[in-house]
Amino acid sequence: MATRASVERLPYGIGRWSAGWVAVTGLSLAVLALGVFAFARQLIEGEVVTGLRNIGTMGGATWGLYVAFIVYFGGVSFAGITIAAMIRLLNLKHLRPISRMALVLAVISIILAALSVLIDLGQPFRALINLPLYGRPMSPFFGTFSVVISGYLFAGLVYLYLDGRRDAAICAERSEGVRQTFYRLWAAGYRGTPAERERHQRATFWLAIAILPLLVIATSTLGFVFGLQVGRPGWFGALQAPGFVILAGVSGVGHIIVLAAILRRVLGAEDQLNPHVFQWLGNLLMILTATYLYFWAAEWVTTSYAGHHHEVALSNALLTGEYAWLFWLSVGSLLVPFLLLARQFVTGQYRLGVMVVSGVLVNVAAIGKRILIVIPSQTHGTLLPYGTGSYSPTWVEYSVVLGLLALGALLLTLFMRVFPIVEIPQYAEGG
């Protein structure tokens, strides 16, 4: 069959079925179905099915796991686009193979962040109309759905589109039928002439310059959602916005390391995703982790030395109280990767396994830290003498979050089936 023959000429198993692909996709679909079911319960019954309750007399937290994951997904997205933009700006040629997966990760994450926002709302359908109609720029939350979600999605998609034109043109040559039409549309007449390449380089360069500051501002607005609230101990502070930017970098780079390691194995792309790439990512992660640990320590010293008694009470709940297990788990999950990566840096012996473990651990820390930012300030941070509150997520919240992660995996596998997620190497061009 001509079609089969042409499909086999496409790189990285695009358009082909494999047992692994079916298994991952099937599992993702199953978990996604669980998430959809749980969310349906929430829509019908109201958010009473979650563990969220009012602050104060009800002794709960009104923002919980969903909000922590809005911040988490937003952060991963930020890091994805930033890395792709940095690769272009600094002209890091050997890192080009991770550029596209970083962009795909960014686009998927921001879709998940947008969904998390809607899922958290009491009236999600009303919000779709009222946010565009009555949105107030004076609200710190405005940044979340304007610059963050729309901005990242736009920047990510445009960048992904431009970045993919060359590969789309190559794929169009090797395929036929509907598939070819799709690649041709993406390639939009790209031929790979020197003039075209030059124009493309210039466009992506200026795009990268334009979006980098936008991204930093956007992630800062996520930090300001918390940092500008004077009435919540643990939130109010100037370090909140830069802290969000750095932690976003930590979780995003961790994600890319893990994803690149998986793809290296699955796609057999050892040449492109070579030790140099991982070495660079590992060193970047080491610097970001160290920076965040420094921020964290500075914050802790300030609070415990000179904090208001509400701040000190909150700090005690974190260090030795109800949240101590998560606090120390998160600290450890940053400290251990930092030490592992620093050892690699000093000895010069880089191991893929160590970097993957670090990538996973920093994401545990990133999720843990977001939960520690969002929740204790509500349950243990009331300024009036209400009793201490508590919050534990229900099966609905866990299922919805798992469903979102599954949706992310599903979108990733779907993308991998239609488009090369790693740039087609130069020598393969035309052949």
Binding site: R53, G122, Q123, N130, V230, L383, L384
Partner: protein, 246 residues
């Protein structure tokens, strides 16, 4: 245009919580929702303990953090000083609640109809109510108020939106006092125009020393406390907490 405010005389408050009851009846609030809440505090160690009470309505702040953060302008400040929530516009993000240092916001976690103290769908109860609406449902709460003509009164409207004390806007606009003030048996709660030098509240504020809650966070509350006590410190313990769970 009047500038409404409330004065709470802590020396007079006996902690009877009649204001909380009146508020519930007037505003139709579901279970777990306390637009007016009265703290009962204990300080000191036995046998040298002391009991004190502190009513906590919404502070209707002049620099309201909840108004500042609302992403859609559902929470707004009226010209007469009342901080109102337009439940037709609220999207239920609960940002106002995390921004408020006083903990006065109540979200409808489930449909209010399923969240009253009695189950109105109980067959035994239907024999008495003849299948009618919740008997104490206040029709004034559905009306539009103020020059903005927005629906802002009372509670128990629909699930997934925020509600809070409105200073009983439906009564104030008719020239009546808020339900809590009207009910208080010891005249511990006073309500009126702060700009009118002869109003109850202005007279009290001139005669007595007063403080406002959490003045240090800069919210400029419209609720003033008079009486011998100072704002509750870190040493108070809450006793007889309300059953807040939904």
């Amino acid at each position: 245009m009047p500038r409404y405010g409330m004065v709470v005389d802590l020396d007079r408050c006996t902690g009877c919580r009649a204001c909380m009851q009146a508020c519930k009846v007037e505003n139709n609030t579901p279970r777990g929702s306390f637009f007016m809440h009265v703290f009962r505090f204990e300080t000191g160690e036995y046998p040298n303990t002391r009991i004190s009470f502190m009513p906590r309505p919404c502070m209707h702040c002049d620099n309201a953090p909840c108004v500042k953060v609302c992403p859609v302008g559902a929470r707004y400040k009226r010209a007469d000083g009342l901080v109102a929530t337009d439940f037709d516009r609220c999207i239920g993000c609960r940002y106002c609640e995390v921004a408020c240092p006083y903990g006065v916001n109540y979200f409808n976690w489930k449909s209010p109809n399923k969240n009253y103290y009695l189950n109105w769908e109980d067959p035994e109860l239907i024999q008495i109510t003849k299948g009618g609406r919740v008997p104490y449902s206040n029709p004034d709460l559905e009306n539009r108020y103020g020059k903005e003509q927005r629906r802002i009164a009372g509670g128990g409207h629909l699930k997934g939106v925020m509600e809070k004390c409105t200073f009983c806007v439906q009564r104030v606009e008719k020239g009546l006092q808020p339900a809590c003030v009207n009910t208080c048996p010891t005249f511990a709660l006073r309500f009126g125009d702060l700009d009118d030098p002869n109003s109850d509240v202005s007279l009290l504020l001139r005669q007595k020393q007063h403080f406002r809650l959490l003045e240090e966070v800069g919210t400029k509350p419209r609720v003033f406390y008079t009486g011998s006590q100072h704002p509750p410190g870190g040493d108070v313990r809450q006793i007889e907490e309300v059953q807040g769970r939904v």
